[in-house]
């Protein structure tokens, strides 16, 4: 009913988003952090302008009718019957057609600008695999496989281009980080590509946008855009095998004896499952269960004890470990930095 009101909300919301402190900012499309998101936002402003104008015209006409064309008490005569008017009707057929034409031209240009077949120069290429219910990120050039958190470096022009290859391991998901660009679906029998861009250091969040089953709500995506040196340091860490620490060997052996290893990989050990997130550098990530809880020692213990308590329906079962066994395993997991 109130276009101006809705517009006001959006403005207020994007301002508050811009002012957000340490936590990742609200993933608002009105707070773009790169070219794709900016192109979309510009088209959005055009849409708001045109549709806003149409709304103003229509509400004025309706408002005029409501205020000025009321029945008067005691006046029983019927008003003049007007059956139609060809020029007027022609006008409101042709003018909308022209508006549609202009909108189509402008937006079609946006489509061709945004849907890239090949990576832009200098882009980080990452293969994204959607799983129920977490994201796997593979940097094939760098030999890194990680989950949930995507690291990309800023180049000399302070731009971080990423070109994603999207695959699904099971059902349809959708990859969406609003501040970096639009979304693209992740489909099992199809390989899609997506160009995103960040233009300043920071953490940008998004989540799966296509309903994919019980825990669709917990498929967090964190994109960490960072300066080159920081990224290189991260890469160096990720490329190493798991840390060996004799102090926690007991926990490691326990882990390798249970069926954990059927699904999880810990490089440098016999664990090489691929159904679940790679744990080689588990502690370098800030979230457990794809955003269901922060990665703290207490949460990790609760998670390993019974994931179904924290993320009901997820594919990881409770391993029926005792609290002591959980402590041992978690003590080892906490060394996997």
């Amino acid at each position: 009913m109130m276009p101006a009101g809705i517009l006001g909300w959006v403005m207020a919301a994007s301002c508050s988003a811009a002012a957000a402190p340490i936590a990742p900012p609200t993933p608002s499309m009105f707070d773009p952090m790169g070219e794709p998101a900016s192109i979309i936002l510009n088209i959005t402003w055009l849409l708001i302008g045109i549709c806003g104008a149409i709304a103003v015209v229509m509400f004025t006409l309706i408002g005029y009718a409501i205020i000025r064309c009321r029945a008067v008490e005691g006046d029983d005569r019927e008003p003049a019957q007007i059956y139609g008017s060809s020029p007027i009707e022609l006008a409101w057929t042709v003018i909308p057609l022209m508006i549609v034409f202009v909108l189509c031209m402008v937006s079609a240009r946006g489509i061709f600008e945004l849907e890239l077949e090949t990576p832009p120069e200098g882009a980080t290429e990452i293969t994204v695999t959607g799983h129920r219910w977490w994201w796997e990120f593979e940097y094939e050039d760098l030999g890194i496989i990680t989950a949930g958190e995507l690291h990309v470096p800023l180049d000399d022009n302070s731009v971080a281009d990423m070109f994603l290859t999207l695959k699904s391991a099971d059902v349809i998901h959708s990859f969406w980080v609003p501040q970096l660009g639009g979304k693209t679906d992740v489909i099992p029998d199809r390989i899609n590509h997506l160009w995103l861009q960040g233009n300043r250091a920071g953490t940008f969040v998004g989540q799966c946008a296509e309903y994919c089953g019980t825990q669709h709500a917990h498929m967090l995506i964190k994109v960490i855009v960072e300066p080159r040196e920081q990224f290189d340091a991260w890469v160096a860490t990720q490329q190493k095998d798991a840390v060996e620490d004799p102090a926690v060997a007991q926990g490691k052996h326990l882990f390798l004896r249970t069926s954990c290893i059927n699904c999880h990989t810990v490089r440098g050990t016999v664990a090489n499952g691929t159904f679940a997130p790679d744990l080689t550098h588990l502690m370098s990530r800030s979230e457990i269960g794809s955003g269901v809880a922060p990665n703290t020692p207490e949460n990790l213990r609760e998670w390993v004890f019974d994931p179904q308590n924290i993320k009901p329906g997820c594919d990881m079962p409770s391993m029926k470990l005792t609290r002591d066994e959980v402590d041992l395993i978690c003590a080892w997991l906490e060394t996997l930095k």
Binding site: M1, M2, V10, A13, S16, P24, T26, P27, S28, M29, I40, I43, T44, L47, C51, A55, L61, I62, A65, I66, C69, R70, A71, E78, P79, Q81, I82, Y83, G84, E89, T93, P96, V100, C104, S107, I111, L114, E115, R132, D170, V171, W176, G182, K183, T184, D185, I187, P188, D189, R190, N192, V205, Q207, A209, E210, Y211, G213, Q215, H216, A217
Partner: protein, 564 residues
């Protein structure tokens, strides 16, 4: 409610006992079960639709309770997923469809001066298939367990994207109930659609050429054609899915070369016309109501007919706009963006014509007119956000977000449900012989305007802030708290409004003011017979000379046929 077919309502309204001289309950029930009368079947459709509307509304309220604050645990994720699946499926197939079929059932023969539909028994068949289909869907709450105790009601979303619906990901029988329930109801709807077309084309009274039909009938004709064309593809797609699930076929099985996108194409080839099938009846209602309460003839009748037919045609060629984010080529995206925006043109024509009808009129603000104006304003908003969503780059941001949820609720709730409410207030006197309460109606209207805009307006903002649809919880860091709280608070107003509506429906059935034949001083044929109409509708076969036969009768000095 005197024509209500539901047994509960019948019990309420049928005092049993010899004192009233009425037949006992069982024979009353027998009459309703065996009836082939279009007015009784139509009333049963509408009553069932309203009951399902209350059920599906309560399902939505549960979801809003869960989402009112971040991190709530009112519902488990599985329960939440079942609720939104059932809410969507029920609202589309068992609220929108029966109410449109019911209203068309009651009104088409009355408006074209016919005795009944072309195939009265097929009509009854269609109704009972609808009812059993809907019961089959809800039976899944008890029967969906399957051998392994998996699941209960379906939790795959109302468009049931493969491969989530394959046996691997959806165990138990819940999805089979979803398929079969809609399949059965769909056959009934197709049969009824055929019935409507045959009736409209073959049974009009003397003088009623196609271009003299009330616009209601025109719009329902296009609607019925869309039903006949669009529903069988859904049935075929569901058969394929059912064979996948029960016989081990591979249509949507990605491991064997099957395609997830095929389901999307087939579903939306049905699904998008379906959206127009649902909204066209709302157009039909307000196109009848606005002229009567503005006291003016509809502006631009031929253009309205053309726009309706154009909407029907274009709606068959826009389905890919539900799939802009699946990674199709830029060219395909651009083509379907153009076709989608094009549908805005005939829709815009209708908006302008309705407004032009009001301008220069002498508007009476009775409840049906209030809801029609509510429809105009809110449908306008929904239509404009539709233009937003048709724009592919913008769609890449907000598809599958709460912006979309807000958008289609503005269309289907702010449009269709407001249209249905307007139609209920408008035709209730014709069907029952009694007026609904204007006071309660106006309270309901304002409560609903507040609640509706609060709930669904705020949803647009959550979507723009990055909130995907169908998540059972969210974290406070995302900054969506305020908008979700507003959305949920709006629900309280809506519950209040619909409670008043239910009270009004039941109360007016007994205590409402007697309506007389023509309480609104209207112009179409249904107002020339008694309220409620006799079983044979008209004592004499009507003859018409213009689009507004009752206007001719009331103004013999200045009849319509001189200007058409």
């Amino acid at each position: 409610m005197r024509l209500a077919g539901d047994s509960e309502v019948s019990t309420l309204e049928t005092p049993i006992g010899p004192a009233t001289g009425r037949p006992p309950f069982l024979s009353q029930l027998h009459e309703w079960v065996t009836t082939v009368d279009h007015k009784k079947l139509g009333s049963m459709y509408v009553v069932c639709g309203i009951i399902y509307m209350i059920i599906a509304g309560l399902e939505a309220s549960m979801m809003r309770w869960q989402l009112a604050w971040p991190g709530q645990t009112v519902l488990t994720p599985e329960e939440f997923n079942r609720l939104f699946t059932m809410h969507g499926t029920t609202m589309v197939f068992f609220v929108g469809m029966p109410i449109l079929l019911g209203s068309a059932n009651i009104m088409i023969p009355l408006m074209i001066g016919a005795r009944d539909l072309a195939f009265p028994r097929l009509n009854a068949f269609g109704f009972w298939l609808f009812l059993f289909g809907s019961i089959l869907l809800y039976f899944s709450y008890f029967g969906g367990q399957g051998l392994y105790g998996m699941g209960s009601a379906p939790d795959v979303g109302w468009f049931a994207y493969a491969p989530l619906t394959e046996r691997t990901y959806s165990r138990g029988h819940s999805t089979d109930y979803w398929i079969l329930g809609i399949f059965v109801a769909g056959i009934g709807s197709t049969a009824t659609g055929i019935n409507f077309i045959a009736t409209i084309l073959g049974m009009r009274c003397r003088g009623m050429t196609l271009m003299k039909m009330p616009l209601f009938v025109w719009i329902m004709l296009v609607d019925a054609i869309l039903i006949v064309i669009a529903l069988p593809p859904l049935a075929a797609a569901q058969i394929m899915l059912l064979f996948d699930r029960l016989l081990g076929a591979h249509f949507f099985d990605a491991q064997a070369g099957g395609s997830a996108l095929l389901w999307q194409n087939l579903f939306w080839f049905f699904g998008h016309p379906e959206v127009y099938i649902l909204i066209l009846p709302a157009f039909a209602y307000v196109t009848e109501i606005i002229p009567v309460f503005s006291r003016k003839v509809i502006f631009g009748y031929p253009l309205m007919v053309a726009a309706t037919v154009a909407i029907g045609f274009i709606s068959l060629g826009v389905w890919v706009h539900h799939m802009f984010s699946v990674g199709l080529s830029p060219l395909i995206n651009a083509i379907f963006m153009a076709s989608t925006m094009l549908v805005g043109v005939p829709t815009g024509i209708k908006m302008f014509n309705w407004t032009a009808t009001m301008i220069g009129g002498k508007i009476r603000f009775d409840t049906p007119m209030l809801f029609s104006i509510g429809f105009l304003c809110q449908f306008l908003m929904g239509g404009l956000t539709g233009i937003f969503l048709a724009t592919v780059p913008f769609d890449w941001q907000v598809s599958d977000s709460y912006f979309v949820v807000g958008h289609f609720h503005y269309v289907l709730f702010g449009g269709l449900i407001f249209g249905i409410l307007a139609a209920t207030f408008y035709w209730y006197p014709k069907v029952t012989g009694r007026m609904m309460s204007e006071t309660l109606g106006k309270w309901q209207f304002w409560l609903l305007i507040i609640g509706f805009n609060m709930t669904f307006g705020a949803m647009h903002v959550s979507g723009l802030l990055g909130m995907p649809r169908r998540i059972y919880t969210y974290q406070t860091e995302r900054g969506w708290d305020l908008w979700n709280l507003l959305t949920s608070i709006g629900v309280i107003f809506q519950i209040a409004a619909f409670t008043l509506f239910a009270i009004n429906l039941l109360h007016s059935a007994f205590k409402g003011r007697r309506a007389g034949d023509d309480p609104w001083d209207a112009w179409t044929l249904e107002w020339s017979t008694t309220s409620p109409p006799p079983a044979h509708n008209f004592d004499e076969d009507p003859v018409v000379y213009s689009r507004r036969p009752l206007w001719d009768l009331k103004h013999p000095e200045d009849p319509d046929w001189k200007y058409e």
